[in-house]
């Protein structure tokens, strides 16, 4: 595809024109792609009075951060961020730990069951969540829990309930990726550990886990983003508005700020900030998480 791999001298002029056209196209598409975000940002920086007076398609007379500040306070975003952390961080940690343990166990058990379980876990992740939400809703309302864990005695309307469903739902994908990844690790490592007299758990903790670090980092990044961005589970399994993680809370916040769409834009952008930061900082892991294993071998 690239001109440079062609044998023989490439025609320089043809390349340049081709390249220029390519870049022109890509730049245009990039601008189109960035535009909705830029527009949201622009609106978020404008006071509503400015937009109303001059119409939204006008040069802004003032730009300030008032919408962000007011939005943050009125929407109590700090509180919602906290809610989100309460859900996301345990969920990511638990799912990574559980998945790596299971993946490890599955790589040691080389029977048909291994494959069956793998298929079961993977398929569980591919299901549209709406297929299971109704019985899940009733299950969550019925399953009795000790009050020490849940003050209303149920999984419904509890952080634990949301963390649980995230873990179970994401498990499939993580187990799948990790077990493939682990399979690519040299068998000799396991042998060596065994010869050294290490127990299974020791092998896992000291040998396999460190080697899986890149995969875990990748999955962790991905899972953080995914669980943070979840809208559905918390929308239906948490009923107290103030308990919702921030993305699911957007539904209510949208109603709260119906009078001022610029503040709403600011709030939406603030909601998006953590994932954008994670993406920018951990891009590499992100992309790797999606494409794990494909370049190995």
């Amino acid at each position: 595809m690239t001109a440079t791999t062609m044998a023989g001298r490439p025609n320089k002029r043809r390349i340049r024109k081709g390249r220029v056209a390519l870049h022109a196209f890509l730049i245009t598409m990039s601008l189109i792609w960035l535009w909705p975000l830029a527009w949201a940002l622009l609106n978020a920086l404008r006071p509503l009075s400015d937009t109303i007076k001059n119409g939204s398609w006008s040069w802004p007379t003032t730009l300030n951060l008032n919408n962000f500040i007011n939005g943050f306070q009125q929407a109590n975003l700090g509180y919602y961020y906290l809610n989100t952390l309460i859900v996301v961080i345990p969920a990511v940690l638990i799912v990574l730990i559980v998945s790596s343990l299971v993946a490890f166990a599955l790589t040691r058990v080389r029977t048909r069951i291994n494959l069956f379980l793998l298929l079961m876990f993977t398929a569980g992740n591919l299901l549209p969540p709406q297929v299971i939400i109704v019985p899940l809703y009733y299950l969550y309302n019925w399953l009795p829990l000790p009050h020490a864990i849940a003050d209303n005695g149920r999984l419904y309307d509890q952080y634990i309930g949301i963390i649980l469903i995230h873990v179970v739902f994401q498990m499939g994908f993580c187990i799948f990726v990790l077990s493939n990844y682990m399979r690519t690790l040299p068998r000799e490592l396991n042998e060596a550990a065994l010869v050294d007299g290490a127990s299974l758990f020791r092998t896992f903790r000291s040998v396999i886990l460190p080697l899986c670090a890149p995969a875990l980092a990748a999955l962790g990044t991905l899972e953080f983003t995914f669980i943070y961005n979840d809208f559905f589970w918390a929308l239906l399994l948490i009923v107290t508005g103030s308990k919702r993680p921030i993305t699911s809370a957007l539904n209510n916040l949208q109603g709260q700020f119906f009078t001022d769409q610029n503040v709403l834009a600011a709030v939406a952008l603030m909601v998006a900030v953590p994932t954008i930061i994670v993406y920018i900082a951990l891009q590499r892991h992100f992309i790797r998480g999606l494409t794990l294993g494909s370049t190995k071998g």
Partner: protein, 324 residues
């Protein structure tokens, strides 16, 4: 909800160095090295997640199927009286005014993704596969909507589509002069939402495909070049067939994403008036004051059956690539 990570490209060619294969051939003797304690530990480690998976995913799936044959509304237990056979299904398919629009919208979503959004993603991937300056930048631009929640995407695009939003203002249409109500007009809003959804979907597909392209053996390309093939020919005749595993992943991802569509339509108008979708129909029927659990479950089962197609496709591939 939409899983950017639903599928990885991992199952592609079995990794070479490891020689690890899922069948039991010839490895049995290694297992005698597992102590009894180890075996119990393994059982617990695998058993608990399996148990959770069964209780919270597969159990509810079966329950959905069961509920769909009842007219249960959640009050009290399910009795024999509640079982009504296929009544819910006949009602949905023949009489429910909102069902067919929902199904059609899901199919439109699928079609739009399959014929427009995914190909654009693939196209971008192909373009960016070259060593050009700024490739990283372009990738970031196209990919970054994927890291946004669909709820945020919905709000961002509402600013575009509102009667006083960007599109109408730029076209000079105001409320008095017949602004186009992109999100309120039932004939238009599904398309508006599809554009917003594609804004996100394209980047996702692009990254998946790009990774696949990078793993294609360069010698193939060189051979094609030597044979005098043009770029287009090289792609369609050489690259594309070799990417078969990735192509399957793309197809499966595309289909699954279009069946799962929920967030965007919900945040815009809660899935009404032109944005009906099977997923939202389920929750509006079942997890609502109406509490028509049986009917909602029937819709869920229909969604399940449709989903089984891509799921089976993917699982078959997984099975094959793990050497069974």
């Amino acid at each position: 909800m939409p899983d950017p990570q639903v599928l990885s490209l991992a199952p592609a060619p079995a990794p070479t160095g490891a020689g690890v294969v899922a069948s039991g051939s010839g490895k049995k003797r290694r297992y005698s090295l597992l102590t009894r304690r180890d075996k119990i530990v393994l059982l617990v480690i695998v058993g608990i997640p399996v148990f959770l998976d069964v209780v919270f995913i597969w159990g509810p799936t079966l329950a959905s199927i069961l509920f769909s044959f009842t007219n249960w509304q959640g009050y009290g237990g399910i009795t024999a009286q509640n079982f009504v056979g296929v009544q819910n299904y006949t009602f949905l398919l023949t009489q429910y005014t909102l069902f067919w629009p929902a199904l059609i919208h899901n199919l439109m979503w699928l079609g739009f993704f399959v014929f427009i959004a995914s190909p654009i993603g693939i196209f971008f991937a192909v373009l960016l596969d070259r060593e050009i300056r700024g490739s990283r930048f372009y990738q970031n631009v196209f990919y970054f909507p994927v890291v946004l929640s669909l709820a945020v995407v919905g709000i961002i695009w509402e600013l575009q589509y509102a009667p006083d939003g960007f599109i109408d203002s730029a076209l000079g249409l105001t409320k008095q002069t017949n602004a186009i109500d992109w999100l309120g007009n039932p004939s238009l809003n599904i398309w508006a939402v599809l554009v917003a959804a594609s804004w996100r979907h394209v980047g996702y597909i692009m990254v998946l495909y790009l990774a696949g392209l990078k793993s294609v053996d360069p010698t193939l390309r060189e051979a094609a070049a030597i044979d005098g093939a043009s770029d287009v020919q090289t792609f369609f005749r050489v690259i594309f067939p070799v990417m078969a595993p990735i192509n399957v992943v793309i197809v499966v991802v595309t289909v699954i994403e279009s069946l799962r569509a929920f967030d965007l339509a919900y945040i815009i108008n809660q899935g009404t008036n032109g944005l009906e979708l099977l997923s939202i129909l389920i929750t509006n029927n079942s997890i609502s004051e109406a509490s028509l659990v049986g009917r909602g479950s029937a819709i869920a089962v229909i969604l399940l059956v449709i989903s089984l197609v891509p799921i089976t496709l993917y699982l078959t591939r997984v099975m094959r690539s793990t050497g069974e």
